[in-house]
């Protein structure tokens, strides 16, 4: 199934070559958890500090049990801040 993967700041290097504006439609297996998708793209789980699925933060304890659905958007950042 397809999802949109977004990797920002220092995580951009994990996106496939066809990515534009820090986002790419990618194919992942059915029933994959947030952590499994993060692993699939060889992203360090700890470095993916801010994990936002369809706009909502996924807490670290929920990243194994949260299963992605077709056309979901998973956005990832390292620990960042501003203001």
């Amino acid at each position: 199934m397809n999802i949109t993967l977004k990797c920002f700041a220092g995580l951009k290097r994990h996106l496939p070559p066809h990515a534009k504006a820090n986002a790419a439609v990618v194919e992942v297996g059915a029933e994959m958890s947030v952590h499994q998708v993060i692993d699939l793209f060889k992203i360090d789980r700890e470095e993916a500090y801010l994990v936002i699925l369809n706009g909502v933060f996924v807490c670290p304890p929920d990243r194994d049990s949260t299963i992605l659905q077709e056309n979901d958007t998973l956005a990832l950042w390292p620990e960042v801040a501003g203001g």
Binding site: N54, G55, C59, V80, G83
Partner: protein, 620 residues
């Protein structure tokens, strides 16, 4: 101990310059900078005074760690009564002039009265004099800076100045120091110009010492620097992407105010983000961002230095804007960009350059343009008012014209210089001003981040993220993650952030250290500099005292609990997209608990018990 113990008092009406010892009791109660200067202001002026009258005073103040080797110890503040808000104003700036002032031997400079002629203050250590500014009155900050450096033949002279909008009475003019650092909000520059004071130029060579425990200070400071270096935010994220890294984050969670807060997500967000600033432009192959930059003593270096494509319409045939200058921070990029629906990064950078060159607040300016664009699209304004320009959302041309008009005080720029509250009242659409107590919101929508809405509503200087940045917790997970969509627990979170910020702002350190430091990292540095009584617990108490003192000032200035709210749009028009879809701000529901936690009455007034606990005067 770390304080110089001296202040300069400048009576602009008479030209008299005197020196005073710092009030010992007050510095022990209020630390320095924001807290101490607000104490002086509260004692010396009637809070009900007209902000642009000679009765108002303006205080430039450093903290005890300003000018020391503490990381980020370069901050200074400008405290006065703000014309934009009619509340207490405290605008904090980095750069180098704060440390220079301390090196010249001064904790504070108090300006009072009004000079009969334009003047600037020149300080060289113990020498302080008012000199004629006729040759630079009516010119920009950048011109003033160059003129003063040439006149005094001193490249290390540090300068803070106001531009033409301040002189013209623009309600949100700031004071720019070191060319592109700003005491930017609430119209502190307008107050300075109202006193016929064009600039403050300082050279200090005395050094900053007087530390309680020099050896302990070295250790505490080095420990603190190690924490900043090892932290992913202060060690990597902020230096690389600056505050602009937030543009995509806040858009993704559906809390990026767009088109005058009609929407909470902006299609063009990526094009104006921190990531986009790194990408080569299609036109000239160079990225917008040239490098990062640091203020005095800073080991984070979040500042942005940018260029504009020389072929961009905004700078065609304007070579003075082709070089490197202060680039976009997140708040400016949001206010100028998303809030106006403009996704042209170079246009936003040009507007930001002008805000620095002429000295006015890009947040209030951007949000005022946004209100004007909504009124234009609703038919309340026509091209007759807007200088023959179509003033639609998304128009980079309208935005760049608007900034030039405000800079020069021309045409529709005179309306835009009012700020959104007065502008919307003038054209009979007061509900379109996205302000609290007259000051425009920063870049976080209270429908998608509930705690920040309560902070906006209660901020003592009008809507402001820097008075209690709960976004750190609600969105970024610092120090721990809370749910941005719920109001539960937010009154306590807001109070904690507000009180801690009051202490940090009074130390001379930058608030950005708190992405890595807690008061437990900061207290040892202040203790080694100022004495053992400055524990983390005491700093927290000082922050709370400062918050209540500022509240008292505002109550005496005429603010009531009715002013502790948000614009109707945020209370009744639900977010249309994203996780907050269907939600409005729950600020009204949160307010009673907030007042209770503060120890205030139902009318938002500190109780006698609270005053006694914090050592505050009775209200009278």
């Amino acid at each position: 101990m770390s304080w110089t113990g001296k202040l300069l008092r400048i009576n602009l009406s008479s030209g008299e310059i005197t020196t005073e010892a710092l009030n010992e009791q007050w510095k022990n109660d209020y630390l320095g900078s924001r807290g101490l200067a607000t104490k002086y202001l509260s004692e010396e002026i009637d809070p009900a005074c007209e902000p642009l009258s000679p009765e108002n005073k303006m205080i430039m103040a450093t903290g005890p760690l300003t000018g020391t080797m503490a990381a980020t110890g370069g901050r200074y503040v400008v405290v006065t009564k703000g014309p934009l808000t009619n509340c207490v104003a405290c605008s904090n700036s980095g750069g180098f002039i704060g440390a220079e002032m301390k090196n010249a031997g001064w904790d504070m400079i108090i300006f009072e009265g009004k000079s009969p002629e334009p003047v600037y203050l020149y300080v060289e250590n113990d020498k302080a004099e008012l000199l004629p500014a006729d040759d630079i009155w009516g010119t920009s900050v950048w011109h003033t800076d160059e003129w003063l450096h040439n006149k005094h033949q001193d490249p290390l002279l540090r300068i803070a100045a106001v531009g033409r909008p301040a002189e013209n009475g623009c309600f949100y003019a700031g004071i720019i120091n070191d060319l592109h650092r700003a005491a930017g909000r609430s119209g502190v520059g307008t107050v300075m110009a109202s006193k016929n004071l064009k600039a403050v130029a300082i050279r200090g060579t005395l050094g900053v010492g007087n530390l309680a425990d020099p050896q302990g200070f070295m250790k505490a400071v080095n420990d603190g620097k190690a924490v900043l270096a090892d932290n992913p935010v202060t060690g990597q994220g902020l230096p690389t992407y600056g505050t602009q890294v937030l543009m995509n984050v806040i858009n993704e969670i559906g809390a990026l105010p767009t088109n005058n807060m009609k929407d909470v997500q902006f299609d063009g967000a990526h094009a104006i983000s921190g990531e986009a600033m790194h990408e080569p432009r299609k036109s000239d192959g160079r990225p917008n961002l040239t490098t990062n930059a640091a203020c005095f003593g800073c080991t984070i270096a979040c500042g942005r230095i940018s260029t504009i494509d020389q072929g961009h319409f905004s700078v065609k045939n304007k070579a003075k804007y082709w070089g490197n200058s202060g680039g976009l921070e997140y708040e400016a990029a949001w206010a100028l960009g998303a809030d106006n629906g403009v996704d042209d990064l170079d246009a936003l950078t040009y507007v930001n350059f002008i805000c620095n060159e002429e000295g006015f607040d890009p947040i209030t300016f951007g949000a005022t343009v946004a209100a004007a664009m909504e009124m234009y699209e609703d038919g309340d304004l026509t091209q007759e008012q807007t200088g023959g320009i179509a003033f639609n959302f998304g128009s980079a041309e309208a935005l760049t014209k608007a900034v030039e008009w405000v800079a020069a005080g021309e045409g529709f720029g005179q309306d835009l210089a009012l700020g959104s509250k007065r502008l919307c009242e003038k054209y009979c659409r007061p509900e379109l001003s996205m302000t609290v107590k007259g000051q425009e919101f920063p870049a976080y929508d209270p429908r998608g981040i509930q705690g920040i809405g309560l902070n906006y509503a209660t901020s003592n200087r009008g809507a402001c993220h820097l008075r209690g940045y709960t976004v750190a917790s609600e969105v970024l997970g610092i120090p721990e993650k809370t749910d941005p969509l719920t109001a539960e627990g937010k009154p306590a979170l807001v109070k904690a952030f507000q009180d801690i910020t009051g202490a940090v702002d009074s130390s001379g350190l930058c608030l950005f250290t708190t992405f890595a430091w807690t008061l437990d990292n900061i207290a040892p540095q202040i203790q080694a500099a100022c004495g053992s009584q400055w524990t983390a617990d005491y700093l927290y108490e000082v922050g709370e005292r400062i918050w209540n003192m500022e509240r008292d000032f505002n109550l005496k200035a005429g603010i009531t609990s009715a002013d502790d709210t948000l614009p109707e749009r945020l209370l009744t028009e639900a977010a249309k997209t994203g996780p907050a879809k269907g939600l409005v701000s729950q600020v009204k529901e949160m307010m009673p608990e907030y007042y209770q936690l503060r120890g205030w009455s139902e009318k938002g007034v500190p109780t006698d018990e609270t005053r006694k606990r914090l050592g505050l005067k009775d209200q009278g």
